[in-house]
Symmetry: C2
Subunit: 212 residues, 2 copies
């Protein structure tokens, strides 16, 4: 089926600091992954087709990446586990340090060995064309990470917001129309909006005690 | 159908600062609402039965309350609008200052005339009995508000977290078993967890500009 397709990375690509393994057959993804042994972060996308038909190979590929980026249903299906938290924990046990789960209009969640982070989606009054929202999210995520000197938890959190912001623009118009004329200022504005609509005040312990 | 049931509030109840109109026929809810003219905040619950069968009366009741607490599907059904943001905006135009939308495992969202706030759900590895999660959310929300001197946006945001925390405990065991032995410390712990797993760093404008 894929006999004719054997990706060979250029010398420059082999030195990439960040690699996103797009949604292709997991044997091929693993083959590409082997060509970037010095990458600081290798992320992986997949889909139901590979989960159904090439489960064993996919699991091997998941074992050799740092970050899995999938949607809700895919995470449950990969782990064969209905509860998302349990599903994420199971997949993490195979090797990746981080799983980011896209939840469409409900936002996104990130799971690490000891951590959890979740954001709502950017609130949109109309979604014109949801095609490519997941890919735009991944693009925004990886693009932001590429701009960061350190790929720590804080950078990953901010990257998720950037991914969500980019996806929120993408679905507003047909295809790539909206994203093509996007300005930095518009992106930064929505990032700030995220801060505003997810922020709440810490309650000092004693005040909380009295409160309840 | 409700001929025999005409709630008459006691003199003390008529002076309540906060009132939660539980899920009964909307004419009766409005009748109770009229008995608490000095209440600082009147909240309203409802369900598909009343939305389907007593839409006009329900809309009148929504017009005279401050806060509507419903789930995703109910909000869309009340407004006859598939997009939740548009649905919330429509309902707000009828009168209430605030709508809080419960989204189960996806958290909760709050809509006001100029604001939006959203939180994920507390991440649970097993949900033993989801019965009463929505009511526990409302109870935690109202209980927290009752402890606060000022019912502003910040208090409402914290109240949503308290509601979510209470609901997260409620579903862990059968009926009220878990909630009955709950300690203040456990509640405060999960409130702090919320802060930890929703918090992300602000990016200074110029740094964000460079980032993208």
């Amino acid at each position: 089926m894929f006999a004719g397709f054997q990706p060979k990375l250029s010398a420059t690509s082999r030195e990439a600091r960040l690699v996103f393994l797009g949604n292709i057959q997991p044997d091929l993804q693993r083959d590409v992954r082997a060509q970037v042994p010095r990458a600081e972060l290798v992320a992986l996308d997949t889909m139901n087709l590979w989960i159904d038909n090439t489960r064993e190979s996919l699991q091997k590929t998941i074992q050799v990446v740092d970050l899995l980026v999938v949607n809700d249903a895919e995470a449950r299906q990969i782990a064969e586990e209905a509860n998302l938290i349990k599903a994420a924990r199971k997949i993490l046990s195979w090797g990746p340090k981080t799983i980011i789960v896209k939840r469409g209009e409900y936002g996104a969640a990130m799971f690490t060995k000891d951590g959890y982070f979740a954001i709502p989606a950017y609130p949109l009054e109309s979604v014109f064309d949801p095609t490519g929202a997941g890919d735009t999210f991944a693009g925004g995520l990886m693009g932001y990470l590429a701009s960061q000197p350190t790929l720590d938890e804080a950078a990953l959190r901010r990257a998720m917001i950037f991914g969500s912001v980019m996806a929120s623009f993408n679905v507003e118009e047909f295809g790539t129309e909206r994203v093509q004329r996007l300005t930095h200022q518009e992106i930064n504005q929505r990032f700030s909006d995220f801060k505003r609509f997810t922020n709440f005040e810490e309650i000092p312990f004693d005040r909380a005690m009295r409160a309840v």
